[in-house]
């Protein structure tokens, strides 16, 4: 089942633009939702599979967005001591790659620093990191234009040598790009989780001291997970920058991290499909609420739906619905480990 159903969802999403009659507003909502869903999937790697609640995830997303935008726009900064760095614009696709690398490096750095602490301390150190990055983006005006926003970011151009290139200007093109990147991330996470490394991650989540005693290197495992997770978030940020074509320090807002966490936990953390379903539900809920109620009321309903899901299905929508649809045999524990989060192959 875990093999077939994502495929069905993928097929559905791939066909959706045809059914939407190319409605640009809904496509736009799906694209931004898709980008955030990639962010949520990457967050799930940390939050769901290693159990480390990072509330600074938006930092990697934003770093990806800024790196990609600056690579493709060019910049000129004075670093002090008379050193000037001048960068001529490069193709946006290179920006995407650099965004992934830069975000991954930041993930490594933050992983090295913050995995010394656990639990609430970890939560807060990650929030702090994101806020510091936001304030740097806001105040380093020479590089980032600060609050004046980076505008005129070019659309992504994909090309293969000898085959020509395509600049992704239309909604439908961007939609399929996001879908492709999302699918790729999904497959990578699925592979990773099913590997030895994935078992090490889950081992740490379930029982850290036991995992340590069987020779799992906690800091290294967590750091690798953080690097991959941050790199994926950076990729999502790059997509965001080139799709929206403007970014300002508001991309680092704490509220966006909260949205991603809601997507992961609401959908089902530690499951492969959870962030995808959660992403679609919580990404599109505001779109669905928009025409029917006052703006303030939309937020209230958003909050109430979140609370309701956590009360009714504390493990998230995907395990919750799967649990509902599975006729429960007597004697089987209703919660706990009855539903395996993922298939474990080795």
């Amino acid at each position: 089942m875990t093999r077939l159903l994502p495929l069905a969802l993928l097929a559905g999403l791939a066909l959706l633009p045809l059914g939407l009659d190319a409605n640009p507003y809904l496509l736009n909502a799906l694209i931004t939702t898709g980008i955030l869903t990639i962010g949520a999937m990457s967050l799930n790697l940390l939050l769901g599979f290693t159990g480390q609640l990072s509330l600074g995830h938006i930092a990697f997303f934003g770093i990806g967005a800024y790196v990609s935008a600056l690579t493709s726009l060019g910049f000129e900064v004075e670093l002090g001591f008379g050193i000037r760095v001048v960068h001529e614009p490069w193709p946006a696709a290179l920006g995407f790659l650099l965004a992934v690398v830069a975000a991954g490096l930041c993930g490594w750095l933050i992983g090295r620093l913050s995995f010394r602490v656990r639990g609430a301390y970890f939560v807060i150190v990650t929030i702090s990191f994101a806020e510091v990055v936001r304030l740097v983006a806001l105040n380093w005006v020479e590089l980032t234009q600060g609050p004046l926003a980076l505008t005129g970011i070019p659309a992504l151009t994909l090309g293969l040598p000898g085959l020509g290139s395509w600049t992704l200007r239309t909604k439908v093109q961007n939609y399929y790009l996001v879908l492709a990147v999302g699918t790729l991330c999904y497959l990578m996470i699925a592979r990773l989780v099913g590997s030895r490394f994935g078992r090490a991650m889950r081992g740490l989540k379930e029982n850290e001291s036991l995992a340590l005693s069987v020779g799992i290197n906690a800091t290294r495992t967590l750091t690798v997970a953080a690097v991959i997770s941050a790199a994926m978030a950076g990729a999502a940020g790059s997509l965001y920058a080139h799709y929206l074509r403007i970014i300002d320090p508001d991309v680092f807002l704490f509220a966006t991290t909260v949205t991603m966490v809601i997507m992961v936990v609401g959908g089902g953390k530690g499951t492969l499909m959870g962030p995808v379903v959660g992403g679609l539900v919580f990404g599109l809920l505001p779109v669905a609420l928009r025409p029917v109620m006052a703006p303030e009321a939309q937020w209230i309903v958003f909050g109430l739906v979140l609370i309701a899901i956590l009360f009714v299905m504390p493990r998230g929508l995907v395990p919750g619905l799967a649990g509902l649809l599975t006729p429960r045999r007597r004697g089987e524990a209703p919660t706990g480990s009855a539903i395996q989060p993922v298939e474990v192959r080795s």
Binding site: L9, P24, Y25, L138, P147, L148, T151, I246, D248, Q298
Partner: protein, 394 residues
Amino acid sequence: MRKPTLYPAMMSSLALALTLASGPARADAGASGAGPIRIGVNEPLTGPFAASGTYVVNGAKIAADEINAQGGVLGRKIELVIEDNKSNPTEAAAVAEKLITSDKTPVMMGAWGSSLTLAVMPKLADYETPMLVETSSSGKITTTGNPYVFRISPPSALEAEAFAPMVGKIGLKKVDFIVINNDWGRGAAADFTKMLKDKGVAVGLVETMDQGAQDMSAQLSKLKGSDADTIMITAAVDQLTLLFKQMSALGLKKRIITTGGSQNPDQIIAQAGGAADGTLHLTTFLPWYPDRTPNPKATTYFIEEWKKRGFQFAGVTESFRGYDGIRTIAQAIAKAGSTEAAQIKAAFWAVDFTGLNGQIRFAKSGPAGRESGQSKPDVYLIRIESGRVVMPEL
């Protein structure tokens, strides 16, 4: 363990949600046909700018009702399609997309803050739909070459230019700045600095405060120790109130001049009390002296109508922009004689009438061939004295 029903069910509910979200299809209502002419309004109704965005929308509604009472435009009523951009640039772009493609509005007004407006601008070019910018003040909006942008609020460079003749009369010698740390504040500090230096006035510190920051004692203590005679401030009314209260608490007594057009002097008087006495403000609207505004009749009507609807008088310094904005759009539609976006865009260049704060008439701004429209409103210097707004004689 086969559970084939789960995901198809999810897919169909997803499709259902999307159908619901797209709302009833009214494709013909905006662009053609006999229904009302739809005008998109993209404003922050929740989030940090909720108060200002709501004021602008309420002003816009007054204009729409007035126009409809007089028979509408092109023999049809106008209908405002109001959407909340949540004070968030991503959302502002999404809202523009929705207004243009799903509500089929051929022209829009928005999006209050500069970063919100900047985020919308690529969409205008994509869909070749014009937007009237009512509040944003960043210079970038009309200088980047987006021919779909028509702005009635003054960018800070225009404000500085209007202030230039007053500099000598007030007797400025050295100026410090404290500005909100966004495009608006930083832009104002840069433009006023340039103008002041040209006039031979020295510029000292430029302090910033974060949007939403409440305690500025640290910055003010620093300004207190400086040898400048004047502090220029760019911020919205809430932070101005806080600044005045905290200045008074610190015993900081210097000449204060505020810029940016979101000062709302009545709210300052009500909330800062005596702490605001003697402060000077550059505003673009004079609701306290309707007779001295460019269009006394319209100003009086607008203020009466605002009060009749039970809104606080203090809101008019924001809401008049919504009112003027919709009237500008209505005139553009009338001049176009059409509800096609392209014709309306062309007709903006022919708009010419006396708004609440001066002649609304668009001049070209930005790179040749892709100019944006910029109207040049009046700028007034007012002073708060013993809880009243007065116009100092210069």
